[in-house]
């Protein structure tokens, strides 16, 4: 099946610093991926790894510096503002803050039907409100509430209802579980999973929560300093991560089984600054497996279905070398 979204070598640069010493910062540094209809693709990474910027760039909220974004076979990164507006009916975005992404003075009923008004879609707004609210499991009388009268989970459901209002083909969800209780997180994820299978949505889910990824994503990409270090089917990556960074992230994920031995891989040092990217493999400053070559040459992403940007991909269940051998 052909992809609904094709991203190729996408770069997003920000210019920072005073006018005289203005420098360019690559928040997203050449990223390629496809999302197929009905598929859920997860973007994982630490804070500041460029996940949100990537999502905003795909949705044209952020200017793309290089590369291309194709949605439903049409290139949208160079499209004019006027021509992209109709495309937005079929590509919805959910933002991090469930309450903050709803207009404070707009009642829930008006918020979820706002897409109809924006795109002048003929519909009975009252019926649509009821349909959408029941679809996300909210009582119909919530239509009269204001965002500040909602809990985080309820506000998130309203956000979901608004996102699916015009039956989009693709939903980009930025941290759909942020700021929610664990039980509510589960509800929201089940809701998203349910809607995806019922409406045949493709989804991009951005998160730093690996449990979320394993719960909903078919494929995933791990981001580090604005690049993908590993992509592939979620199950495979969870079973046998090949990139040391992925392995470290997975080992940091809480394990519910207390009898299972945890082999936590701890990463030394801080995330490097985007203004001072390390030479060679950008992860070598923190990699427990790093060798001489890692500091010299940047690894290429290898593989077809499963891409790994590492000179020395890990064998399954590899544990980090002893301290003495660490460079």
């Amino acid at each position: 099946m052909s992809a609904i979204l094709e991203v190729r070598d996408l770069e997003v640069a920000f210019r920072v610093g005073p006018l005289v010493r203005r420098r360019s910062l690559l928040a997203v540094a050449g990223v390629s991926f496809d999302v197929r209809p009905g598929e859920t693709f997860a973007l994982v990474g630490e804070s500041g790894s460029g996940k949100t910027t990537l999502a905003r760039a795909v949705n044209r909220l952020q200017r793309v510096s290089a590369g291309s974004v194709n949605f439903e076979g049409r290139r949208i990164d160079t499209m004019s503002r006027g021509r992209i507006r109709p495309m937005r009916q079929r590509m919805a975005m959910m933002f991090q803050d469930p309450v903050g992404s709803l207009s404070p003075r707009m009642r829930v009923g008006d918020a979820v039907t706002e897409p109809f008004r924006i795109h002048k879609v003929e519909a009975s707004l009252k019926e649509e409100t009821e349909r959408l609210l029941s679809l996300v499991g909210l009582p119909a009388d919530f239509a009269n509430r204001y965002p500040h009268q909602l809990s985080g989970g309820q506000a998130r459901r309203v956000g979901v209802a608004r996102a699916i209002a015009l039956r989009p083909k693709l939903i980009i969800a930025d941290e759909p579980t942020a700021g929610l209780d664990v039980s509510v997180q589960g509800e929201v994820l089940n809701l998203l999973n349910d809607l995806r299978s019922r409406l045949g949505l493709a989804m991009i889910i951005i998160t730093h929560n690996l449990s979320v990824v394993s719960h909903v994503a078919d494929r995933m990409a791990v981001m580090y300093l604005g690049r993908f270090v590993e992509t592939g089917p979620t199950e495979e990556i969870f079973r046998a991560p090949k990139h040391p960074y992925t392995a470290a992230l997975l080992s940091a994920n809480p394990e519910p089984d207390p009898d299972k031995k945890s082999a936590r891989i701890s990463l030394p040092a801080e995330v490097p600054s985007l203004l001072a990217r390390p030479a060679g493999c950008e992860f070598h400053t923190r990699c427990p497996w790093a060798r001489d070559r890692c500091a010299k040459a940047a690894p290429r992403s290898e593989g077809r279905n499963r891409l790994v940007a590492c000179h020395f991909p890990l064998a399954p269940n590899a544990s980090p070398p002893e301290k003495e051998t660490v460079q």
Partner: protein, 285 residues
């Protein structure tokens, strides 16, 4: 599509709960009623000159007496209220409309446009009101239009700045990005998503500015820069009374008292409105 709740009724009740708010409402309602039903209430023609009835004392025929041309002062005061009210409402509405548009443009538009507009606001603000009034009257001659233009010029920079600051703060809010991601154009983002969130404090400020506007109109008419005689204006009546204050002090009272009562009424009302709607602003300006 969703019916308004009883917010307005509740607010009205809370305004009356405050003693000054209640007094404010009474004064303002009396003033508006007097202005609207001036013809009914006054009985006499405010323009009819009657040289034989000059400087009559207050009586049942002439509740506030007559002025130096024998015109009925009570009628002139009521009709002067019309002028004051229409100037206040019209110029405040115009200031709000212009201030909101400019403020939204400055806050949401490109940086250079913001800088230009801010410079313009500051330039206007740097003129003292009376100097501005004098300059404009020299240009256009004394008229009601001149009064309105002065008021709009004086008010717009402040209104626009309030809207601009708040718009700037909301520009990067997630709900604005959400509206854009849904495909809303700039006009819709501003009108539907930003304006309702920034207009509240401005409306309160504008209601508190109404007495200032009335005072500007009266002041300019007092100086002969406002409405042209024989149009009745409180400022003009005050000026007439001022020249005859030794013999017939009630004329000055007839011109001055409504100015005092109306400005007090609107001020009390405005301050109570502010306390009711936005307690954070209490104790300011």
């Amino acid at each position: 599509m969703f019916a308004a709740d009883s917010d307005a009724v509740g607010a009205f009740r809370r305004i009356f709960a405050e003693p000054l708010g209640g007094l404010g409402i009474v004064l303002v309602v009396a003033m508006i009623a007097g202005a609207v039903f001036a013809d009914l209430l006054a009985g006499a023609d405010p323009f009819r000159i009657s040289p034989r009835d000059r400087f009559l004392d207050p009586s049942l025929d002439h509740l506030l007496g007559t002025d130096h041309l024998g015109r009925d002062l009570f009628s002139r005061v009521l009709h002067g209220g019309r002028i004051a009210l229409s100037v206040a409402l019209f110029s405040t509405a115009a200031s709000l409309a212009i201030g909101i548009v400019l403020g939204l443009i400055a806050g949401f538009g490109p940086r250079w446009l913001d800088n230009i507009l801010i410079l313009l606001f500051d330039a206007i603000k740097s003129f003292p009101t009376v100097m501005l009034a004098l300059a404009l009257v020299t240009l256009f001659g004394p008229s009601l239009t001149a009064v309105i233009v002065v008021v709009v010029l004086v008010n717009v920079p402040g209104y626009a700045r309030i809207i601009r600051t708040q718009t700037l703060a909301l520009k990067s809010a997630e709900f604005v990005a959400a509206a854009e991601s849904m495909g809303a154009g700039t006009a819709r983002v501003l009108r539907v998503h930003i304006l309702p969130n920034v207009i509240g404090p401005l409306l309160i400020l504008a209601s508190m500015d109404i007495p200032v506007v009335i005072a500007i109109e009266a002041g300019m008419s007092f100086l002969g820069l406002g409405v042209r005689p024989p149009t009745p204006s409180w400022g003009a009546i005050l000026n007439d009374g001022f020249t005859a204050i030794r013999d017939t002090p009630w004329i000055a009272v007839a011109g001055g008292l409504p100015i005092i009562l109306t400005t007090l009424g609107f001020t009390f009302l405005g301050e109570t409105l502010r306390d009711v709607f936005d307690p954070r602003l209490r104790g300011r300006g």
